[in-house]
Amino acid sequence: MELEELARSCGEWLRGSGPESDIVISSRIRLARNLADFPFISRATTADRAEIERILRDKVTRVRDGAELNYVDVNRLEAIDRQFLFERQLISRELAEGQGARGVAIDPQERGSLMINEEDHLRIQVMQSGLDLQTAWEKINRIDDLLEDQITYAFNERLGYLTACPTNVGTGMRVSVMLHLPALVITRQIDKLFRSLQKISLAVRGLYGEGSQAMGDFYQISNQITLGRSETDLIKQVGDLVPTIIEYERKAREFLVRESHENLHDRVSRAYGILRTAQTISSEETMHLLSSVRMGVNLGLIRDLEIPTLNQLFIYTQPAHLQKLSGVELDTSDRNIERARFLRSRLNKSDSNGNKN
């Protein structure tokens, strides 16, 4: 598959549609699975890993649930391409930065991917735009069934699906919903929300998963527990809570509109202004400003932009995407200049031709 082609397209989870898509970016479910007759990755020899990859590659590319999947040999990819797939959320940081035989099968519409030799032998993930965990579950369950017809998974009657880390044992399932919560951040209620979520065993992560900072006010809410509850229960636990969080965010937005409309409008307008005129800009600042603009669009303060365009800009301005789109490798300071140029051209449609560096 040509990654350049992928760079210019727009994946399912960036579509900006689906239920509650002003606040919910995407719904995602992943399953961790291992072959019964191989050691887990930490004890696998180079030959084991190569063999696991060979077996699973053969099986996953035969899964015909919709379109044909594209297989990418991650071990042979350049660092920038691995980073690109990671930014696109098609592979995890672990797979991007790992070593040895490993790969990923990608749905061409980016509705899901199957990672081989990540922390577990197989990680299946399915993404839906907006809040739609049920569809994600139906899809991933079907893919898992199709694979299970051909693979003997490591499974134990008592503990369920066996995983390399005991935190995933049982269902091996992680249900997560990515939310955009700028108003809860501005009104400083976000930490409180997180503390209460942790009390009920839900994890909160940033845009790029474990350990990543909450850049652009994006947060992923997911289940911590994987054992002792059915998949449906786990989906319900996360799914039932999301409307409450959406409600909090909407209330915080209403509050800002009502109580400090000028400040809010000023913040949104300034952010938009900087993004349209800056000559050099870091990834962090871009995310931060885009977040304000995104909320401004949702609140009707900015009328000449669409949510899908903004969702794309969040990803397209990431370091590897920027370099892929411009076709050259750039160091940090050149990237900042290119990022500013890219933003100007995308956000000033009327004078995009006359707006040279």
């Binding site: 019964a36 050691p39 004890r43 499974f155 503390r195 054992l227 059915s230 786990l234």
Partner: protein, 189 residues
């Protein structure tokens, strides 16, 4: 309404739900900010959980007991308990059986449960013991070859073939990875 802490108008109306009965708070923006940022959240790193918990296992054991436990190695994959404690990752499916006594408290700590109640593979595998056995045999075969113990290697190869041939591995379609052996094709679908 005035702020409960100063003379400015109260623009924030906070209902505190944690701890006992709900408490209402009416404050100005500055005091709301102060109130809401009072308790700094501890950095949460879910990724560090297994390592932390694995190290916690050490608690409640004497140094001697721990040293002994650390040296125990899974007969299938060879991982020692010490290695697991350090990396937070297990070596093979059999570790869940072999280290059950040590792992169960850890699993309860993480999940609050010890019984899987979710999805099960549709095909009844009976037991995956034979698959697990393959992990051990292949490891021993590799060691035998490295140690130039060819007679032992030949016996092991036969054993592996026997298990693979019995159809116990119908799933993975695994062939022996020694060169020169016939590679049975995985069942086509």
């Amino acid at each position: 309404m005035k702020c409960q802490k100063c003379d400015k108008p109260a623009t924030f109306h906070i209902t505190e739900l944690t701890g006992g009965k709900p408490q209402e708070l009416h404050v100005c923006e500055d005091h709301a900010r102060e109130y809401l940022s009072e308790s700094e959240p501890e950095a949460t790193a879910p990724g560090k959980l297994p390592e932390k918990l694995a190290k916690q296992l050490a608690v409640g054991q004497t140094a001697e007991e721990l040293a002994k436990l650390d040296q125990q190695a899974c007969p299938i994959c060879g991982i020692t308990f010490f290695e697991f404690r350090n990396q937070g990752r297990l070596g093979c499916p059999h570790d869940y059986v072999y280290f059950q006594k040590e792992l169960d408290p850890l699993i309860v700590n993480i999940h609050g449960e010890l019984e899987h109640t979710g999805k099960r593979p549709k095909r009844t595998h009976g037991s995956t013991d034979r698959q697990t056995e393959l992990i051990r045999l292949r490891r021993e075969l590799k060691e035998a070859v490295l140690g130039e113990k060819y007679e032992q290697a030949s016996t092991l190869r036969d054993e592996i073939k026997q298990i693979e041939g019995s159809g116990a591995n119908h799933g993975s379609g695994v062939a022996s990875r020694e060169s020169g052996t016939d590679q049975p094709k995985p069942p086509s679908t």
